[in-house]
Symmetry: D2
Subunit: 379 residues, 4 copies
């Protein structure tokens, strides 16, 4: 396989995770160290760029991502910048013929996302999204079980992503609380993850009803500031949703989930079984089989906690039976991107997937404004 040289754009917390994850892949899959490398990095602040290049061990760094795109040796870019910059970078990268790995959510709105998905298709480059939560092995296992018909008809489902990061009124207006920088609030930031998980497991959404609210409407403009500014994005988003296959579900997204750190949960209730995933126990999938025997005094039906850790397809050490962490699932998502290049196949999760999630979010927002169910087909 040809070596893949990545240009990393953005080096905040998540950029560092991506960089580390690229470096871990060879150890998981027995690749040579030079088969994947981060060959350059772009950040808006020069001192961050220098630091990033030092940590990564690459020679090239810049404060302008276009310099990266101009380099012949860069095969793909990895975009770890705020949401409002994705569109321009993706279009420029596609135009430059670079494969693209992009942090979620894909875009500021469905219109942008549509154009971005078209751009990568038109350019014939791979476009993959960082829907890293898909790569917890329990989720892969859930998808496999669903594909095998384990659930029968899906009756209903539930998804949740709660954090408590904004419960303090003293917490200042950050970029995540400003619509012009993010496109949306908790719905975009946390919702994109949980909506993608449900979409990945259950297929296309048909329509949604959304109740969005901003529980704390004013915050200090900066940490400790007396001046207050308006929060113009949601901090809680409650959805009802229907999939094309007829499942009815409820989704809770909140930055105001007092007590939560990363409370991510998926439940699916089907005719012949049920599944449950909880990120607090990332190595396990809860599985209920309605076909299990029932006996007079007591049956054997019940949720089973099946162990899924370390079970990545093709991994050299399938006996790594400890819980995967954040870094591991990022590595897996990135590895799938690299493989889509090597094997010249459609990446997954693709920009088209990112577009679908973007439509769900936009439908939820429109629903919240108009107080009626909104079909994705309308978006």
């Amino acid at each position: 396989m040809p070596s893949i040289n990545i240009g990393l754009i953005g080096y905040g917390g998540i950029g560092r995770v991506h960089a580390a994850a690229y470096r871990a892949i060879p150890f998981h899959y027995g690749l040579s160290a030079d088969s994947i490398k981060v060959g350059g990095v772009a950040t808006t602040r020069p001192e961050t760029a220098v630091q990033a290049a030092s940590e990564i061990g690459c020679e090239f760094y810049t404060t302008d991502y276009r310099d990266l795109l101009a380099r012949d040796d860069i095969d793909a870019v990895d975009i770890c910048t705020p949401n409002n910059s994705h569109y321009d970078i993706v279009l420029a990268a596609a135009a430059a013929g670079r494969h693209i790995y992009c942090e979620k959510p894909l875009a500021m709105n469905a219109g942008e996302a549509q154009a971005m998905a078209q751009a990568v298709d038109a350019a014939g480059v791979k476009g993959q999204l960082t829907f890293n939560f898909r790569f917890f092995p329990a989720i892969a296992r859930a998808r496999q079980l669903i594909a095998d018909g384990f659930l029968g008809q899906v009756f209903s489902f539930r998804g949740r992503y709660h954090r408590s990061s904004y419960i303090s009124r003293d917490k200042a207006l950050s970029w995540r609380l400003q619509r012009e920088l993010t496109g949306g609030g908790a719905l975009f930031d946390l919702g994109s993850h949980i909506l993608d998980l449900l979409y990945y497991l259950l297929g296309d959404f048909d329509s949604v009803y959304g109740t969005l609210d901003t529980l704390i409407k004013e915050r200090p403009v900066a940490p400790g500031a007396a001046e207050m500014g308006q929060v113009d994005v949601d901090d809680i988003a409650l959805l009802h949703a229907r999939t094309r296959d007829g499942g009815l579900g409820t989704i809770e997204i909140s930055r105001m989930g007092t007590g939560a750190t990363n409370d991510v949960c998926v439940e699916i209730f089907g005719e012949s079984g049920a599944l449950r995933f909880d990120l607090a126990e990332p190595a396990w999938l809860y599985v209920y089989d309605a076909r299990d025997a029932e006996t007079p005094i007591g049956g054997q039906r019940g949720f089973r906690r099946i162990e899924t850790a370390g079970r990545y397809d093709g991994q050299r050490a399938p006996d790594w039976t400890m819980s995967p962490d954040f870094m591991r699932v990022h590595a897996e998502c990135q590895y799938q991107f690299i493989k889509s290049i090597w094997e010249d196949r459609t990446p997954s999760p693709s920009f088209a997937d990112g577009l679908h999630v973007q439509k769900i979010m936009e439908a939820a927002e429109r629903s919240a404004e108009t107080e009626r169910w909104v079909k994705l087909a309308e978006i």
Copy 2:
């Protein structure tokens, strides 16, 4: 205290539980055995009436509840019959000057409930509802904490009542699936419990948005029958709700919750704390205090599982530290009713509480039909 003589109306599964619970109260509170007795029983089928009188150890039984009301020695009636009979019995009992203890939901609709609440008030008799879930000590503890200001402003909440009792398509049309007998489906049967818990903890509801569905629309008219009949009640009800105090919540009610037996859960997220109750662990309340210290390397914040078992006010053996069961919480609900008679005070949960819950359910149904938020004030 004068002895209270109960006339029990209805003796299905729940009637037996009530009868047993009355008999347990003296042991919990050091009362004399004859302070509370079930002195007569009415059921529609004569053979059930005989059996009931034998189990209870009372001499009087009848197939017409009016015979019970006609007896001078009956102080109060306990109504354990299907929903569609509550209205007539309550009105007759109030007219006869009997105190009334009634199974939930109070009525077939808010109009009936309103009339029933007025009837007991007009007659000057006590009217209490079997919202027995309130009497898990963890719920009492939660209410006490909320009253003490533990949560600060309530941001949001979640309630759930899932059973899986109807997931099989072969399950026949029973009385619970027929609107004319029940007034409603899962929303009425399961929803009344969870809505009352939320109302009890959070105060009056302001408005609701409801999505109701019947996931299995046709069922055999009888077990094993080839003939199919229409199900005309919901088997799943998803609600968004706002309380008068401004909390925003989500509520899931389903008979189609594959894998659930009695999956009842309440979560409340507030400015300074959070609470969680799960009926699978009936003796514990999960409590999170945002005021707990946070230190550089790691704080002490986290959900605490506090033990609440056996902690009934005034109970003779407060060291009964095992989980309370179904019977114990019924006994406690019934004891509060008896005490409301003895102490001549407003019972709790009262018919007014039952009316509020009835309004929430009716608002949810109207919302599901009209696809808009419905205020309780409209009902």
Copy 3:
């Protein structure tokens, strides 16, 4: 069936539980109210006797249990007095031809227990012990699974009973801390329960190794007293044990288990499966089946939480799907005693079972003294 008239001896907390439990049985099993009654009560203090008779609703009460034995109408006695009185009462009751239901542990030592077991046999009366924990339906289900060969050969096991009732140094010397009144400490009080559960599930014990300790050796002679007295019983007992079938296990018994209320846990590890019971979730049994399929990416093996609530053989309302509580399992234990009289069969748990448990405890004590494994055959 002839009516059974019980004479209750002792009316502390546990006596009240027994009395209430007798009264609940007819409602569970469709018996007539007069089929089982508590017809008299004996307590050492006259004022307790009066109160007991009032709560129970019986006419006869006494401060001398021999008065109960002298009454012709008493069929059986139920002994709820401290351990050091069991021997005399049992021998007197057996001599009087009364069936006997006795609180655990059976005796002060194995010698007494042996004589008591012989006495009931010789008198041809039923002798049953209050090993009520056996009657959590999850335990019944576990025993059934083991009998069905679910586990294959048992490799190892673990049992635990932790309470934290004595962690405060200020807690005074009570009767439970004095060997002459109890025969033993945590090992007797808590250990008898967990040892019986293991014996019930795994069969006869072969030998044990015990480490016993008294972590707090001196306590106030009375609450608040300055004078200190010696604690002469264990407050922690750690055992290794082998069953006759070759299983090797570990057992933890402690009154010093900081944070525990009633932490009871059983785990069994076998060749083809495993079982786990935790009293914190009294309605569930955790079951692992090693024969479940294993697939390349991920298998389906895992602990399954099977629902066991309400599943008592012959119960009229098998749909009582809530967790059973303390009272319910006492009622079941007592019902089995009554049935052993009606059906004239060996009661279970029998005095012989109580004797086996007594031998395990005595072997553990002897082992702790001699620092070697002790066989039950030596006791």
Copy 4:
């Protein structure tokens, strides 16, 4: 800081983990990529050596670890070979003046361990052990709480490490089942981890009582072979132990824990609090504070699940709030080793720590043979 160049010896599953972990450290702590590198690798099989060098991206590889020691540019060696080779490599590396990072257990027996600890001291090189479990942040938090006096006097404790890797009789004799290659069985392999955790949290052990057994005594000499060979190491080890500070504990170690994957658990019960860690929830520590307020109807005492994820001292992204995995804790352990070199301080966990654990294991083995408590001072 001078760059540290590691020579990696052994490249099985764990060698790959170490190599990947070194590469991740710069991203966690903001170091330059070249501050730590694996500059050479030695494995016994040449094809593994080539593959290892490719994955690591180093130029030097060999089948003889002495070639690594002979290179001037190697500052430290990391030993990932079977237990029976540790002694020779450590002595040679110390003689060559190289710092040493060694997989657990340190040695085949306490005598070897003693010599190895002396060798590094004499040579003035750092010697650290891979007791990576110490570096779950929950364990660090537990140690900090204990140091702060949170528990008061420790009454008792429990540790457990269960795997189910050997429950099948068909599983062949591997190197882990042969004493001459490992020095011991489950006690050495799994026990060293859990014993180190207890020692790390509770301080020096005073004495132990051990019951060791080999539940499956014969196994095929190779996968599928008809010929059977004797297993000469334990597959289950049950210990009672006393610390120098007077705590009494119980420890379960088993490869025959049907249903377990990596079931690691620590519980500590103290006068004023309790702690619990369970590897199934690696990001949380359970904490009980006996000083929490108790109120009449219900207290606030209870186990609190405190979040510890991502809280490594000095980590650049303390907001990485996901559970740490196996790789992360290895990285942390290795980072501490590197820091001990840079800062010229005693490494922790040191070879002296490894020696203490080795003594506990040897005392347990001697106790099992002689059937008496053995003091560590005797070893």
